[in-house]
């Protein structure tokens, strides 16, 4: 069972929810797909069990074979190639590693070289296997790392929580692609509603079953809750705007492991989500 946790912006509580859900389960896998700034490991402090370097393929030209026909330059939709002064220039950071230029080259002058863009780290923290994707600073796209993370998730039998990057761009689409269920985390503000709407549209587009966790709930009006009621979206849980929780979280402690009250809240949320997924599996097999 794979549960993706996402939100339209950073700081709404994706990591809070996914880390604590994983900690509340008997046995779980936590996958940090927020490869530009992964922070789940700060909470879990996992004991390392392995790491894997992630590389992409970039074209290199053999100048003795290149005849300057420019078929590769014309083909590249990302404009990663230019032909200047009888020399092919390759812009590594613009290349999307599609491999098309190599296929099109009639002289077979292009070969592949590997370029390291980041790594995936594996570790154990009590009942949770922690898998963290890390994109090197300055690299353009974390998608290859997320692909590797999700390949790992495919082989996993235990309940898996995918902590997504913020927003609703390609990198989030990639992260939720294989999910059985999506948890949308929302803040109780008008801005929060705007961001919730972005991911709400995304999960609908991907035809994923989903529910909302309202975070930072205060007394009084909650625009995000109103949005859910109007759209008929299932509210899975409400997490209060609570000093104790805030303090635990800012000290990188896992609330479920520190405080009975939050152990109950997240265990109950886990129960709700599990039932939702099982229900979905019956209704839409």
């Amino acid at each position: 069972m794979k549960i993706a946790v996402l939100s339209g912006k950073g700081g709404t509580g994706k990591t809070l929810v996914s880390v604590n859900l994983a900690a509340a389960a008997k046995e779980a896998v936590y996958i940090d797909c927020d490869v530009e700034e992964p922070n789940g490991h700060l909470f879990f402090e996992p004991k390392p069990i392995g790491a894997e370097q992630i590389a992409i393929k970039i074209p290199v030209v053999d100048e003795n074979l290149c005849n300057g026909c420019r078929k590769c330059v014309e083909f590249c939709k990302f404009n990663a190639l230019a032909y200047i002064n009888n020399k092919l220039l390759v812009f590594d950071e613009v290349c999307h590693s599609c491999g098309g230029c190599m296929l099109f080259c009639p002289e077979k002058a292009l070969a592949e070289k590997e370029k390291m863009i980041g790594q995936v780290q594996y570790g154990i923290s009590e009942n949770v296997t922690v898998v963290t994707g890390i994109l090197n600073t300055g690299e353009a796209s974390g998608i290859p790392i997320i692909k590797n993370l999700l390949n790992y998730a495919k082989k996993e039998q235990a309940i898996t929580f995918i902590d997504c990057p913020p927003g609703s761009a390609c990198i989030v689409m990639e992260s939720i692609k294989d999910a059985d269920y999506c948890i949308l985390v929302a803040e109780p503000t008008l801005f929060g509603v705007h961001n919730l709407n972005m991911v709400y549209e995304l999960v609908n587009l991907f035809d994923k079953p989903y529910g909302v966790v309202l975070n930072k709930c205060l007394e009084g009006e909650n625009p995000a809750e109103k949005f859910c009621t109007e759209k008929g979206i299932r509210i899975l849980a409400k997490i209060p705007f609570d000093k104790e929780l805030g303090k635990l979280n800012s000290n990188a402690l896992i609330s479920v492991r520190e405080c009975e009250k939050y152990k109950d809240l997240f265990t109950s949320l886990l129960q709700t989500v599990t039932e939702e997924v099982q229900h979905e599996a019956v209704v839409n097999p």
Partner: protein, 122 residues
Amino acid sequence: MKIAMPVNDSSMESCVGNTFGRTNYFLIYDTKTKESSFVDNSAATSQGGAGIKAAQTVVDSQVEALITPQCGENAAKVIQASNIKIYKILNDSIQDNINAFNNGELSLLEKIHGGFHGHGGK
């Protein structure tokens, strides 16, 4: 000497475009014969890497100088690889810039900006 300039429209009465990679046209002007021609900038609608493609267009026009309001680092790499000099515009008037260039009054573009990469790739 042939020079290039990003311009908004294919006319000498138009003005200098405010970007390089995504300008509508490039003016190719011969300072000796005073002949002008306009090249469509097919990079304007690129998903990404517009600067690289636009620079390729400029290089292929066999100019010796580029006069532009700005230039990104990837575009600059292409331009400089073919020994074309990059000058900063004086104002947005095509004719003023040509006159200034002819009188040696334009200075070289010193600030090459980082550009914006990774469009939609994230």
